[in-house]
């Protein structure tokens, strides 16, 4: 992708909400901030808005950069921009940081206005449903009644799905990518190990580590290392690192294999920039999401009120959110005679594939998005 199809330098904005948000847990968030970015121009009819829902470690910085020489563009910059598959010449794109996050929206590391101290362990555990409610309030704030589309990968795909259930009239298209209608026991098990790594870190202090001037780095680092193993396929790890030795076998526990170097690098990078309390909450939101639960496990019934048109995508080598899980969503949509297409993209990169600029994958998104009408009345 060339430089000139970037959305350019972007500035995040913050919306403050004074109306209390009632959460699924029964708790109430009396007031909160949502930090967001927008790209492109909202048309006069306000009919060209697309919401991007982020995954576990994502945030509102979806595209563009923060300065001319910023080396790290937004996390889905390969998709979004003028002339890109999600064309900002046509669409008004919104990215936000979910509640409980650590990039500006209210979360465990932000200040609780009632105490003047960081929320820490007091910050409630939010669900996908709660997030979608808060996102709807953000749309109200922006004066947008109906989204042209909601797009999300992984945990973001769960939010996109939830949009079509909770706000059926407010979303015309849902693009659900590398996602699932709930997590399998194995998938939840990875989350539990990740949380245990954080919670048992001596510097976790029951989630109030800010007070102690420390962060549970070791736990967060291990949690992220584990995550990275599950985001890649066996084949890609083999191809990328194989059994390559960095320097020489030293009969030690230092970094000796390339793979170890990669995992430690990823773990360190993440532990230095992400909040452990947020990580705990994001994984819990993943665990809890199960729209079929209220319908005796019948996903078709859960989706019976959805009015959106759907594009469901999965990746062949994704074993954390396998194609089988996407097919369950498709099956439920077919049962309801929803308008749906399903693509199973051949890709080597495992779960990470949804963030990669694979030509066929992007061609599908480009084609689908270019058919979305924005001239509705």
């Amino acid at each position: 992708m060339s430089e000139n199809n970037s959305v350019g330098v972007v500035t995040p904005q913050t919306a403050h909400f004074n109306v209390p948000l009632k959460l699924r847990s029964g708790q109430i968030l009396p007031q909160y901030d949502l930090v967001y970015e927008t790209y492109g121009t909202l048309n006069a009819e306000k009919s060209n808005a697309i919401l991007i829902c982020h995954a576990l470690s994502g945030n509102h910085h979806v595209a563009g950069k923060y300065s001319e020489d910023d080396k790290y563009p937004g996390w889905w910059d390969n998709l979004i921009g003028p002339g890109k598959p999600l064309d900002t010449n046509r669409f008004f794109v919104i990215g936000l940081n979910n509640l409980g996050g650590c990039h500006g929206s209210s979360g465990p590391s932000s200040i609780n206005p009632e105490t003047g101290k960081r929320w820490g362990s007091d910050f409630p555990i939010l669900t996908v449903e709660d997030w979608v409610d808060s996102q709807a309030h953000l749309l109200d704030h922006l004066g947008i009644t109906q989204l042209a589309a909601v797009i999300g990968g992984s945990l973001g795909g769960m939010q996109a799905l939830q949009w079509t259930i909770a706000y059926a009239d407010r979303v015309r298209h849902a693009l659900i990518i590398a996602s699932a209608p709930n997590l399998t026991a194995q998938n939840m098990a990875f989350n539990e190990v990740a949380r245990q790594a954080i919670i048992t870190d001596p510097e976790f202090h029951n989630g109030d580590y800010y007070e102690h001037g420390v962060v549970p780095r070791r736990g967060l680092r291990i949690a992220r290392m584990l995550g990275h193993i599950t985001y890649l396929s066996d084949d890609v790890m083999g191809e990328k690192f194989g059994r390559k030795i960095k320097d020489t076998i030293k009969y030690s526990f230092d970094v000796e294999f390339e793979m170890e170097s990669y995992l430690r690098y990823q773990g360190d990078k993440f532990a230095g920039s992400f909040d452990a309390n947020t990580y705990l909450r994001m994984t819990r939101a993943l665990d809890y999401y199960d729209p079929a639960l209220a319908f005796n496990g019948d996903l078709s019934k859960a989706l019976s009120k959805a009015k959106a048109e759907f594009l469901v995508l999965s990746f062949t080598s994704d074993w954390r959110f396998s194609p089988t899980r996407s097919r369950e969503i498709v099956k439920a949509l077919l049962d309801n005679e929803s308008t749906v297409s399903y693509a199973e993209v051949t890709a080597a990169h495992g779960h990470d594939a949804f963030l990669m600029p694979d030509a066929h994958y992007h061609a599908i998104l480009r084609s689908y998005l270019s058919n979305i009408q924005t001239d509705i009345d």
Binding site: L311, R327, V330, K331, L334, D335, E337, T339, V340, S341, Y342, A343, E344, T346, H360, A363, I364, S367, Y368, N371
Partner: protein, 201 residues
């Protein structure tokens, strides 16, 4: 985009299929290619259509044409589709390339109240002629050499009639065409493309 489709733009077999599909009904097209048949049925009969397609390029074409398409391999059956959930399930000129031929027909009967199956008639006289002359048939409907053909289960009209009889399948209607024209005299000899409208007995 495709609102003003003329019937003449489409193949003769499409016109016959359209006659067998009810207005406003729900149609599943297996091996739907770029979605042409579904678009034709949608514009002429306002059907609710879904295609099943394995090939990436065809899938992309369907999405470009705003045609519902589900990417899956028919050889695995139709497990994502409920019993009797479609009015009509179509398998157009794909039967002969299926490995699990028997299974897919039975799956179609499970999912569809009626099914439409079309295939090149191997009993067509030109095919017989080429075999008599000592060569494997190559023609417009069978445009492959023996070594590169995807067709693994070719059959004649008589063969398929017997298949239906043996599997308790009722033949509601059968049409046989050659070069776009209907053939009623000696169809197993003079017919190039066989088209069946079927249901479970």
């Amino acid at each position: 985009m495709h609102n003003n489709v003329k019937i003449t733009d489409f193949r003769q077999d499409f016109a016959i299929i359209a006659n067998w599909v009810k207005f406003g009904s729900k149609v599943l097209d297996l091996g739907c290619g770029d979605g042409q048949l579904l678009q034709f049925l949608r514009s002429s009969l306002e059907i609710k259509g879904y295609g099943v397609e394995k090939d990436d390029a065809n899938l992309l074409a369907c999405i470009q044409n705003s045609t519902n398409v589900i990417q899956m391999d028919l050889e695995d059956g139709l497990s994502g589709f409920e019993d009797q959930s479609f009015d009509t399930v179509v398998l157009s000129q794909t039967l002969q390339a299926m490995r699990n031929t028997e299974k897919i027909v039975l799956e179609m009967l499970r999912v569809g109240q009626e099914i439409i199956v079309t295939f090149p008639n191997f009993g067509y006289w030109r095919n017989r002629w080429q075999i008599t002359a000592g060569r494997m048939p190559v023609s417009k409907t069978l445009p492959y050499q023996w070594y590169d053909t995807p067709n693994v289960h070719l059959c004649t009209i008589h063969d398929f009639d017997a298949f239906c009889y043996n599997h308790q399948i009722e033949i509601i209607e059968r049409k046989v065409i050659t070069d776009g024209k209907e053939v009623s005299f000696m169809p197993n000899m003079l017919g190039n493309l066989a088209m069946y409208r079927l249901k479970a007995r």
